[in-house]
């Protein structure tokens, strides 16, 4: 009897919010983890790796829950396919955050002091890019007209990250004291650090399209 009057809409709203929050936490932990690695706070870094894993698992669970609610109770029949596509795409945020942390822990790239600030800035801009995206996703569910503003912010930060990524790679390859293997390794980590911003841009593109389907 209780199930008959249970408000599954509220559950879905809650799951969506929890999912976005866990993605945000994963991205934040990624940035803090990068800082800890760059400035050699080893113990804290390992905690961040562990925390990112947890956030990724949490995000996966919330994604599963909201998929279940959407399909089983047919709560948003005409938009459920788009919403699920959006939520699935967002899952890459947690996945990439976790993957980069694990790669750092495993591969232990030697990042020279001259490059630490640049790496930190790229990670910071990537985080801002992701934050703008997640805010845009929240706004998609409430104030459709304000989405454009957040999508533009994502594009802006992604361009910034691209520019900084290129400059840092240039600096690395101009350094005659590094051998090719070191340069390639560092280049790879520059790319991975910037990955969050690329994912954010891809999802922002989807958001910009879905915005048009939300009209009455």
């Amino acid at each position: 009897m209780q199930k008959l009057f249970h408000d599954y809409n509220k559950d879905l709203e809650h799951e969506i919010e929890l999912y976005i929050s866990s993605l945000h936490k994963a991205a934040l932990t990624f940035y803090e983890g990068m800082k800890d690695y760059l400035f050699e706070n080893e113990e804290r870094f390992h905690e961040r790796v562990h925390h990112t894993n947890e956030m990724e698992r949490e995000a996966d669970q919330h994604l599963k829950n909201l998929k279940f609610l959407l399909y089983k109770y047919n709560l948003i029949p005409d938009l459920s396919a788009d919403i699920l596509e959006l939520m699935d795409a967002l899952d890459d945020v947690a996945d990439v955050s976790k993957a980069v942390m694990l790669d750092l822990e495993l591969e232990k790239p030697e990042i020279l002091e001259a490059y630490r600030q640049d790496f930190k800035e790229i990670a910071k801009r990537s985080l801002r890019c992701t934050e703008a995206l997640l805010t845009g996703v929240r706004v998609f569910f409430t104030q459709i007209k304000a989405i454009e503003e957040h999508v533009e912010k994502v594009y802006f930060y992604e361009k910034e990250v691209d520019r900084m990524e290129y400059q840092l790679k240039k600096k690395i390859f101009e350094n005659a004291s590094l051998d090719l293997a070191q340069k390639m390794h560092l280049k790879e980590f520059v790319k991975r650090t910037a990955a969050l911003s690329n994912i954010s841009e891809d999802v922002a593109l989807k958001l910009a399209v879905f915005k048009f389907k939300r009209g009455i």
């Binding site: 408000d7 709203e13 029949p77 938009l79 409430t142 007209k145 009455i216």
Partner: protein, 352 residues
Amino acid sequence: MDNTMMSFIFLSAGLFMGWSLGANDAANIFGTAVGTRMVKFTTAAIIASVFISLGAFISGSGASHTLGSLGAINAIGGSFAVSASAAFTVMLMTGKGLPVSTSQAIVGAIIGWNIFSGNPTDASVLTKIASTWVFTPILAAMFAIVFFWIIKVGIEKMDVHLVKLYKYNRLALLLAGAFGAYSLGANNIANVMGVFINVSPFETLTLPWGGLLTSTQQLFLLGGLAIAVGVFTYSKHVMMTVGKSIFKLSPISAFIVVMASSAVLFLFASEGLYNFLTTRGLPAFPLVPVSQSQAVVGAIMGIGIAKGARGINYKQLLRIGSGWIMTPVISLIISLLSLYVLQNVFLQVVYY
């Protein structure tokens, strides 16, 4: 054969008409809601059946009176032929998946009786009825455009979460559907049982608590139940045509369509509103059975216009419009034929 038995056999045409109305017109109320998968068919069918019956029983007399003044059928055999012709026409068009007007079908059939019996058709009543065929979709479109803009502005200002919006929309569709079903019952029971009022086989019943159930009320109740059976057994087929084929509707647009079309039907059925306006010397909407199909199509067009007139399936619209023209003509011809057969083959009295 016993007269009472014969009376009930003749009444079966009205019941069949009720079934046709349920199968065809009721789909207009919940078709958009079921088509957008916001409401399950079973839920829609239950609500439609209950509220159609209530509307028919409580508020069905106003529009019936107008239909009676178009053609006062004075023999139950004639009522049978008229009702059966209209019902058959509706069934024929419903079979083709077209939302047709039972109002137009019954008017065509009544005019057929007038021609057959030599009774003049009151031109002013016919003009009044025919003009509503033109104004109904226009009025529904206007209501839809106004409701569209009110809701659009409201949603933009309120910042309601999408999930919550769909929950409220679902509830609104159910309430609008109930209102629509009531309006349909009140407005269109005239098409089902209006032709039997003068020749009703029922006597006034005294209820256990002392109340009275007049013969007209018994007719309307029976008609309402016939409509309910039509809703459950055949309306799903037509539900998928309305709303999906003319213009793709969102769930919120579906609500606007139901509210706009139901408001129009209510305006043309409400004796309370009619009396309120006439006693104050204001122009009133005539109490006429109007077509819910036309109102829904008009409302859908209104939404299409409000959205910029893009994406309207004009081909399907033309197909539906041609159905509206053919319906009274086909019904008139079938009515003439059936009256002839009933009188000359079955030797039944079809007019006095």
